[in-house]
């Protein structure tokens, strides 16, 4: 397993309960991958670019991105990533309460890896964690 690098997760989410839900999901599945928090799109960009006095996040990483956030929302963040030559290959899962077709279409237009609706408490997150666990074991990520 020489090529198996620990994948870190950048969780871009303004709701502290949802952040904790993801952490609990990881703990329950005994997944020890580091989770780094960003409260909105702007903070996420600073962490990815190592700007704003923050250290750049090590690769490989994947992003879990909420859509409705203050300052810079999830769609705006991913739009920005896709326009940035060094970040355009970032793997992004949308994690949102929005069931609107508009948000879903906009997300896939931006080549997100998945669009996950966190509708039912707990259930959505548990499935998500299982999915991620399989995903990064199986998929060769850009490093």
């Amino acid at each position: 397993m020489a090529s198996y690098h620990t994948v870190s997760v950048l969780l871009v989410e303004d709701n502290d309960i949802d952040r904790e839900a993801v952490r609990r999901g990881f703990a329950k599945h005994k997944i020890a991958n580091p989770i780094i928090d960003a409260a909105d799109g702007i903070e996420a960009l600073e962490l990815l670019r190592g700007s704003g006095g923050k250290a750049a996040l090590a690769r490989p990483h994947i992003l879990l991105v909420d859509i409705n956030m203050p300052r810079m929302n999830g769609i705006e963040l991913v739009t920005e990533l896709r326009a940035d030559p060094t970040l355009r290959d970032t793997i992004v899962f949308m994690l949102t309460t929005s069931k609107s077709d508009e948000d879903r279409i906009a997300s896939f237009q931006l080549n997100v890896a998945g669009y996950i609706v966190k509708n039912e408490a707990g259930i959505g997150f548990a499935r998500l964690v299982e999915l991620l666990d399989h995903y990064w074991r199986l998929v060769e990520l850009p490093s």
């Binding site: 709701n15 309960i17 949802d18 904790e20 839900a21 609990r24 309460t97 408490a121 707990g122």
Partner: protein, 355 residues
């Protein structure tokens, strides 16, 4: 006083403007001579409309040029006609009038002038008020939508927190606290249902698809397909089938009526009859069940938001409010007839031109 002088008086003092023109040399459209003019005539007394003037002299200035054509046609055919003109009245500017034109003799035609300013003002005012009312209704719908949508997020958080307390403490929870926690989770679930229903209620008005011709039988088949398995018989009768409605809204109304009949039945397998007939400019769709019925005292309340009659089958009390809203958003209506046994919901959906 002779009858004819009474008529002269009547015309002279009428509050509606009356003039009579004589066609002195047909077919010359320039040969209409004014022979009668009462005081209320819009141009009475003005220089341009002296009794005895010919229309030709004034038409360029005061009357629309189509007036001589109207007079000529009315005299030739005997058919009355009506049109509107704007006249410049000294000191008041351009004033709109409705003009009724009819033949009064072999070569005479009368024009009656009815001022429209007041009616136009009222129509404008009515229009403004309708618009304000629509805006306020829309604002209310938007509010219901945003409120129910935004309240869901903190409620989901509370749901998460409650389930984590349960997860983390598990068997260590003492029985009274366990009971409280279970009640808490039950209330959260109920609140989530209420918000979902409120969202559905506000969506009935927001749903923006265009109405089209729908087959009631097809919609009923769809509704049955989405129902939980049931022992109830659902049959469609009647000689009509087509309803003019927004498809999602009509289907929702029918689904609510049918599932209401099923969940409130006190026996395992009754019959629900959907009866469709053409009626008075639209389609009547009647949903009749043979369940326990609704006591007369409660019949007015069932269509109100969040009204239930209690009992184990009660939902959030929004189903029939949604039905009412659905039909009313199509300018239709819904009524409930109930006998000792069974309910009959009559919905009326106007035909295409009614929406």
């Amino acid at each position: 006083m002779s009858d004819s002088s009474l008529f002269v008086d009547l015309v002279a003092s009428a509050t509606i403007g009356i003039v009579v023109y004589e066609w002195t040399a047909p077919p010359d459209l320039g040969s209409f001579r004014m022979v009668v003019e009462n005081a209320a005539a819009p141009l009475a007394g003005s220089e341009a409309a002296q009794l005895g003037h010919t229309l030709d002299a004034t038409r360029s200035r005061v009357l629309d040029t189509i007036v001589p054509e109207h007079l000529a046609r009315t005299i030739e055919t005997g058919e009355p006609c009506a049109f509107e003109v704007d006249l410049r009245i000294d000191g008041r500017g351009m004033i709109p009038f409705a003009v009724h034109c009819f033949r009064v003799g072999p070569r005479h035609a009368s024009l009656m002038f009815e001022e429209l300013s007041e009616r136009r003002r009222l129509a404008r005012e009515l229009d403004d008020r309708m618009r304000a009312l629509e805006a306020s209704n829309r604002a209310l719908d938007d509010f219901a939508y945003v409120a129910s949508h935004d309240l869901k997020s903190p409620l989901r958080d509370i749901h998460n927190l409650a389930s984590w307390i349960d997860e983390d403490l598990g068997d260590a929870i003492p029985p009274p606290t366990r009971r409280h926690l279970d009640t808490l989770v039950g209330r959260i679930a109920r609140m989530e249902r209420l918000l979902d229903d409120l969202l559905a209620y506000s969506r009935v008005a927001r749903e923006g698809t265009a109405p089209r011709a729908l087959s009631v039988r097809e919609v009923v088949r769809n509704v049955i397909g989405l129902l939980a398995p049931t022992h109830h018989r659902i049959i469609v009768e009647g000689d009509a089938d087509v309803v003019w409605a927004r498809s999602a809204v009509f289907e929702q109304a029918l689904r609510n009526l049918i599932s209401n009949a099923i969940i409130h039945d006190d026996r395992p397998g009754g019959t629900i009859t959907v009866f469709v007939r053409a009626h008075d400019g639209g389609t009547e769709v009647v949903v009749r069940d043979d369940g326990p019925g609704i006591a007369a005292a409660f019949r007015d309340r069932v269509f109100r938001v969040f009204q239930t009659l209690g009992g184990p089958a009660s939902g959030t009390g929004i189903g029939l409010a949604i039905v009412k809203r659905a039909v009313e958003s199509h300018n239709g209506s819904v009524t409930l007839d109930a006998t000792e046994r069974g309910c009959t919901f009559r919905t009326f959906w106007p035909a295409a031109n009614g929406v």
